[in-house]
Symmetry: C2
Subunit: 210 residues, 2 copies
């Protein structure tokens, strides 16, 4: 029986967690890890890890475990992190502007290339060198820079309408800050948020408390 | 002239970016990196990197660069990521509930141990095995589990009041989803959000598009 060609989304959602855990192992100087030990770090059973990874090929050896560096590189490759993705940010309110100014975006395989907001008071203003434009202008933008990935920082009430516009112009993946369930056609993917990286700049101060 | 004892916050905010970039280098099998090459990856000058790191000791050698693994381990240690931090999550609306259910928290040096919300309709309900309790009960919680770190998923209008209550009970670091500037006393730190990790599960699908 051959491998399934399309792993379930729940597996894809776990891959960045595996990658993160593997990086922690690397940080600790660990070169090899069993599915059991890896699973314990991320609250997933060893069987689940082996099943998840089986979608992508053969990893690890019975009784030896996974080569941390190789498995990590493989997962990064699977996740498409070996290139840079142009990103549209929609909704330049307080949150959106914070996202636009967040420097982490400039080094993570993704780059914000366009800012959209339909508030006439905002259009034309620049944030981090990018002008805010109306979402109606997205057609012109994607003509020169195809955008497949978007971040939504709009109110929940507007999120579905904005999503529909984005999808109509080629966006296929959306990271949403809006507290609402978005309806999207097959082949379009939606995620909410991961605050862990930000927490890691906060623990610095906690670690130094008396 | 001795080193300053307290690096500026802007330096601390860059450390997780350095760490992230160093992990990418490890992923690529790179063992040594110059401040110039590291800087290029994160849009920071080589001089800035050297200055930032000088707050914490001596790293790298002229003409040789930084040992990626050692520098990464050192930065992780500086960031206090060698232990687990109990976290309070305040505001169990749509967003808060998504955060409470996010499995990434269970393997990242931080763990949500208490859920707060003042909506009587929510109090007592369980999310991921934790009961939602009123914020007024935080005094009882911190008596057994001191909580220094909190995530705010409350509306902007409530964020300041909640922050004041958290700080009064020992919280010293806050990751906030609320689109508002929080006023906090010296010694308390506030951050907003990093969506990069979530984006990394979306690029999987984009990388597989025709």
């Amino acid at each position: 029986m051959g491998r399934p060609k399309s792993p379930p989304d729940v597996v894809i959602r776990r891959l960045p967690l595996y990658a993160r855990s593997l990086r922690h192992l690397l940080d600790e100087g660990v070169c090899s890890v069993s599915s059991h030990d890896l699973g314990e770090r991320i609250n997933v059973t060893a069987a689940q890890i082996r099943k998840d990874l089986s979608y992508f090929g053969e990893f690890g050896k019975q009784g030896i475990g996974y080569d941390v560096v190789k498995l990590l590189q493989h997962i990064e490759h699977i996740l498409g992190l070996n290139r840079e993705w142009p990103v549209a940010l929609v909704g330049i309110g307080h949150l959106g502007e914070a996202i636009a100014r967040y420097e982490g975006f400039r080094s993570q395989g993704v780059r914000i290339v366009a800012l959209f907001d339909d508030d006439p008071a905002k259009i034309g203003r620049e944030v981090e060198g990018l002008p805010i434009i109306a979402l109606a202008e997205i057609a012109a933008v994607v003509r020169t820079t195809p955008i497949a990935l978007a971040i939504l920082a709009v109110p929940a009430a507007q999120a579905q309408g904005v999503t529909d516009q984005l999808v109509a112009h080629g966006v296929r993946a959306i990271l949403s800050y809006a507290p609402t369930v978005l309806q999207v056609p097959d082949g379009v993917w939606v995620r909410s948020i991961d605050p862990v990286a930000v927490l890691h700049s906060l623990t610095y101060y906690l670690a130094r408390e008396p």
